[in-house]
Symmetry: none
Subunit: 401 residues, 2 copies
């Protein structure tokens, strides 16, 4: 990324502090044509006041029309081009359950399945085995031992689990073993590149031992592996921006994404109030603070318009506590839109607000989708947000003489 | 193009239908400073109503300041980066007269010229020979026979014609034979790359035989060849988007551009009404419909402001017939601006409107250049329009988990 080359050239030391408040899935849609979005409906006196002081705009997470998952959505906000830095499915799954991937790890998503006597798949989800049952089956797999490789097996939910292979010479270039059909056997792990041949052998040995350990299981007597992936090689926040970054999140996925970017996890908060306590508590030890607020996304995914409005209002009420710490730059945005009307992530641009003493006024007095269209940040790629934050924080020198 | 990689990864099946209505040269300029553009002047109640339902913006065909021809203008709208996918002059000229280029063809633009007894050019346009005369001269060239190559010669207009060489091992890398001057002989066809050496020999043989056939002509006794070009290798709409695409155009150029993108030509319409008949007639057999409306461009090229206004109003009147088919996504745009004040294509952004149930309201109630500046699509590269159309049609999956 040219942006990273610029940062390496221009990033400067300063004592300023940047807060990035991510309201997951913030952007929305009206329920009825011509109506208001969730954010347009919510009473947000604090955010509106900040909009008058700061500069607003609409961020495009990946490209117009592209709906991002949480991984690419956050990578963009953190300043990594999500088209260049891809997090493979296995690595994201491991990240999502809070497993800290090392640089030599290869992570794989596993699915239990049911096999007949001839080894052919009869049920690709092992009868949708409940988590309580499958966790015990995952425990059996802890007995796998492979020469020269450390193996971790972690439950996710129902038939899903994660396998991580740790050791020298591993590579994510192994094809899925899921034949995506019943009536056939799982595929053997096959290397897509010469570099992955050892990993394919390791995976085959894992499957061999696992099959033996699962032989007596009524439902989950087989498994398929998908999305072999190493840890993505992201330059860290310290390396890239010179920022000592803290992450204050409740859910494992967002803690994991922050760790991939080299942030330090702070606190064990389970509520927004506790997150703000953690923020205040670590204020002097860090320069950058990523606060993740989940409920604007989960209410959107549930199709709960009124509830999403209320969660936005809860977030608004938390703003004064953040302001009281006097951050030099405060950014409020989302990693993507999650309109409750669609009950899913969407491609719509994300309302974004940057507040700093160096903001040029754009005449807005409210923070909402429609207003952001006329904001001073315009429509911009999310990956450029960190450049703006760094500039307003007095942490970027001049380019060229 | 990274966009094409994404499409290959994310495109999903659906039964939704997309209409792309291209009003050629739609964007305009006021005649007087502070006045209104053609679109701002026109009464467009239907488009204005759609603007209230949909999302508007300004599309940039190639790059700011770059005036596109019809080829790059349409490539962008179809989702092919016009800077990456170039249609060589010969290929565009052949496409423009409705010649369907094959993958092994090399097309060349030919100009008749007048040569003196020593073979030096005395008139680079053969006395601007009228089409009626030159068509007969083109007929003489049908007698050319070259070993292992099929040769097509087609009249265009006045001194212009097209030659297509068809056969194995041909390549467009041959330099123009037009010396761009009088008093000198035409250049010999010269290969710019080793791969084009055979093509240069074929072209030289064509010129040799043509000179003999034209020896008795009073004006058009010589010729020069320009813009050697193969058919551009565009991935088809079906391959790229999974869309069964129909093109409903009146003029050969636009039919040809649609064919290059793998669209099926539907109907033999000569009026907008007939185009709408064709649209309704093929509605069940296709997923995507490209409707090309020429007169907003031709009136602009003529400098006929009032006539362009009237043609825009005619187009507006046709909107309800399109709406009655209930497309899931309706896009109204142009391939470039053709301000009647400039009597030519221009670089100005193009007013664009996308209507779908998943549009986020942008508060506009009129479709015109000035309003589009405040629209929810912002200013965006034309090549991203298809990504947006695909997203609103529910035909793009999530990027990353």
């Amino acid at each position: 990324m040219i942006e990273h080359e610029l940062l390496r050239e221009l990033a400067e030391k300063n004592t300023t502090k940047i807060v990035l408040l991510v309201a997951d899935g913030l952007g929305g849609l009206p329920l009825e044509p011509g109506g208001r979005t969730e954010l347009e409906t919510a009473a947000t006196p604090n955010l509106d006041r900040l909009a008058a002081r700061g500069t607003s705009g609409s961020s495009v997470p990946v490209l117009p029309g592209i709906t991002p998952g949480s991984g690419p959505g956050h990578l963009g906000l953190f300043g990594y081009d999500p088209l260049e830095y891809r997090i493979g499915r296995g690595a994201l799954e491991a990240t999502g359950i809070g497993f800290e991937l090392g640089p030599a790890d290869v992570a794989v998503r596993g699915n239990f399945c049911t096999l007949d006597a001839a080894g052919r798949i009869t049920d690709r989800r092992a009868g949708r085995i409940p988590s309580a049952e499958s966790f015990a089956v995952v425990d059996k797999l802890q007995a796998v031992r492979i020469d020269g490789v450390e193996t971790f097996v972690k439950p996710v939910k129902e038939h899903r689990f994660v396998v991580v292979f740790r050791g020298p010479g591993l590579d994510g270039g192994v094809a899925d073993t899921d034949p995506q059909a019943v009536g056939v056997e799982p595929l053997a792990p096959a290397a897509a590149t010469p570099a992955a041949e050892r990993t394919a052998r390791v995976a085959a040995e894992f499957v061999r031992q696992a099959r033996a350990l699962l032989a007596g299981e009524p439902k989950a007597n087989g498994l398929v592996l998908r999305g072999f992936a190493g840890r993505p090689a992201l330059p860290s926040f310290l390396e890239l921006y010179g920022l000592r970054a803290a992450a204050i999140a409740v859910y494992p996925m967002y803690k994991g994404l922050a760790r991939l970017a080299g942030m330090t996890l702070v606190g064990e908060a389970t509520t927004l109030d506790e997150q703000l306590d953690a923020l205040a508590g670590c204020w002097n030890d860090h320069d950058f603070f990523f606060l993740h607020y989940k409920y604007t996304d989960s209410t959107g995914e549930d199709g709960a318009f009124a509830e999403k409005v209320r969660r936005i209002e809860d977030l608004d009420a938390a703003i004064p506590r953040i302001e009281s710490l006097r951050p030099d730059v405060l950014v409020v945005t989302g990693d993507h839109s999650t309109p409750s009307r669609l009950r899913s992530h969407s491609w719509h641009p994300v309302p974004t607000l940057l507040v700093a003493d160096t903001c040029r006024p754009d005449g807005l007095t409210k923070f909402a989708e429609r207003e952001c269209l006329r904001g001073g940040l315009g429509q911009f790629p999310a990956k450029h947000l960190m450049l703006l934050a760094m500039a307003h924080a007095g942490r970027l020198g001049k380019f060229g003489a």
